[in-house]
């Protein structure tokens, strides 16, 4: 018996599949570094201003939007321009022409890193900042559609920069484009009128507003359509196909038309009653803040507690301390200064300073021209300062010198509680715009 020798079966080695060109493009060159630079730019900017935005979604979204438009947009333009000139610098333009792929497909693959990485870096930074805001906010929601529109705008600027880099043969093209981007986007942000809402850095600081629902998608259509039209006009061959670029161009023009029809001042922003709703504590007098600052209510109540105790039962004393859009609405309401200016995240950073500001607001009458004059004007002003310092001393390093008011402060402190209440009643009844009415302690 003979045995046949058969060679052992061996699996055929699977041929290694070459990576997709887009994947290779995304991993090489300046693209990933641009993403890192964009993310760092936003994160460092936001870190430096954390107390200003980490308590309200509107503040966080607004500063992210400004940083994206004003800083990341020009960076994406310049980096895209550099990336666009790569093949010319390397002398591989003709090599690319020999590749069996359509010019548009090659262009889109090459543009990929210039558009993707700035947007990815921005979205990463947005996510970090929103997560850092989340634990401290009271009401509302982050305007994700606006942040997505910012990412699309930055990607579009990267793509436009890439095209500029392909067209312009000048070594200064990239830095110049970046600086022109800073200037143009910065000017657009400060322009009055509806055109400012076309720019990706238009600022809006109003805590009780939300954008109209269509603004985010339409902004995306405006910027993405512009970039796509430019890409099609440049990359489509033969030339007769370039007419297809009119489709995204029409979308862009339509979107820009919608944005330009927005009201001149408020643009896409509309009041949101859910954000400006009053939230009050159970104290006497009540302290009322808007829903967006609800987390600060315990701190504000505690800061005002010494003043409330001293004013309790005094005729003319506040019935409610109110803060927000509507201001004092009922008899006995007294306006509070903005809580967010003195807040860090969801805590009041300087309760004594806030109390001092609240007392200043309590005793500030709306004077007319000619009021506050006369022989007793200086004395009345000094007494006003003395009463404020007696009720809520200005913290060290803030406010005016109180040396001149010290005799009055000493006299107020020396009074019995009943005398102090009687004096406060007379002081609250007086119009501080008329110096002769201000009672001397």
């Amino acid at each position: 018996m003979t045995a046949t020798l058969t060679p052992p079966r061996a699996d055929r080695p699977t041929p290694a599949r070459p990576p997709a060109p887009l994947r290779t493009e995304l991993r090489r060159g300046l693209g990933p570094w641009t993403g890192v630079a964009v993310a760092l730019t936003v994160l460092v900017t936001m870190y430096g201003k954390a107390p200003e935005w980490q308590g309200r979604w509107a503040d966080a979204t607004n500063l992210l939007h400004v940083a994206a438009g004003l800083l990341c947009g020009p960076l994406a333009l310049a980096a895209g321009c550099w990336q666009g000139g790569r093949d010319r610098r390397r002398g591989t333009t003709e090599l690319w022409e020999s590749v069996p792929r359509s010019p548009l497909r090659r262009l889109l693959v090459a543009v990929g890193p210039s558009a993707f990485w700035p947007a990815a870096g921005l979205l990463f930074a947005d996510a970090v900042c929103l997560l850092a805001t989340w634990p401290y906010v009271s009401a509302g929601r982050p305007f994700l559609e606006l942040l997505a529109a910012d990412a699309v705008a930055v990607a579009a600027l990267g793509a436009l920069g890439h095209l500029a880099g392909r067209v312009i043969r000048w070594r200064l093209a990239a830095p110049l484009l970046g600086i022109v981007g800073y200037v143009v986007l910065g000017l657009a942000a400060y322009t009055a009128g509806p055109a400012r809402w076309l720019g990706p850095a238009g600022e809006h600081q109003f805590f009780w507003d939300r954008p109209v629902w269509w603004f985010g998608p339409v902004s995306m259509a405006w910027t993405a359509g512009l970039a796509l039209a430019a890409l099609l006009a440049y990359g489509l061959r033969p030339a007769r196909l370039r007419v297809l670029a009119l489709i995204p161009l029409a979308v862009t023009v339509g979107a820009a038309g919608l944005i330009l029809r927005l009201p001149r001042d408020e643009g896409p922003w509309r009041p949101d009653p859910a954000l400006s709703r009053q939230v009050c504590d159970g104290g006497t007098p009540q302290v009322c803040l808007t829903a967006v600052d609800e987390s600060l209510l315990p701190d504000v109540s505690a800061a005002l507690a010494p003043l409330s105790a001293r004013l309790k039962g005094v005729p003319g004393a506040p019935v409610r301390w109110v803060s927000g859009l509507a201001g004092p609405a009922l008899p006995g309401d007294v306006a509070l200064p903005s809580v967010r200016q003195d807040a860090v995240r969801d805590r009041l950073a300087h309760p004594d300073l806030y109390l001092n500001s609240a007392v200043n607001w309590l005793f500030s009458d709306s004077c007319r021209p000619g009021d506050g004059t006369g022989p007793n004007a200086e004395r009345a002003s000094t007494i006003n300062l003395a009463v404020i310092e007696w009720l809520a001393p200005t913290p060290e390093g803030y406010g005016p010198a109180t040396t001149g008011a010290q005799p009055y402060i000493d006299r107020l402190k020396a009074k019995s509680p009943a005398e102090q209440r009687a004096y406060l009643t007379r002081f609250l009844a007086a119009n501080t715009c008329r110096p002769d009415e201000v009672p001397i302690p």
């Binding site: 300046l30 730019t41 900017t45 201003k49 610098r89």
Partner: protein, 199 residues
Amino acid sequence: MRLYLRSRGLPGALAALLGTAAAAAWAAWWLVSLPDFDHTARLPVVVLGPLLAAGVIGTSLHTPSDELDRTAVRAWWPRRLAHLLAPTALAVGLLALAVPGHAEEFGAPAAVRNTLGLVGMAASAAPLVGARLSWLPPTFYAGVVYLAAPSGTEGGAAWWAWVTRPGPEGEAWAVAAVAFAAGTALYAWRGSRRTTGEA
């Protein structure tokens, strides 16, 4: 000499510096003439003008014949030094003239300091990432600190945000001077990085 100047594109760079200074002078005048603004509004001019000048000077450090240059018998560092210092001196003079008055805020001293510091950053970048990309580190730095910088000096802002500080601050000058000295020395010593295959 003429061949050297032309091979580095220095005539174009000098024209670009003149254009930068002219644009900066116009922008400074225009900003101050706006109804709600005063001389303190010139901060963007004393940041962006020197930034563009740094880009112009940094990209001019590119040499198209690096390998050939390195075979020369003479030492290159004096030429590199002159190549960096001469356009920098011109840029410093032009940009100082572009923002006249108010030296205590954003006037000539701030423009001079920022030009020196940002040129130093670009010169440092040339041996590391190549002369043609040397504009990127100063651009990135200016972009990062422009909004992040506080209005006061808290948090050591005079050190890390020196480009946004008013003219007379010593700390900001110290950082800019160190950046310029380090960049000049590094570039004179090493020259620009060879970027293979890039014309």
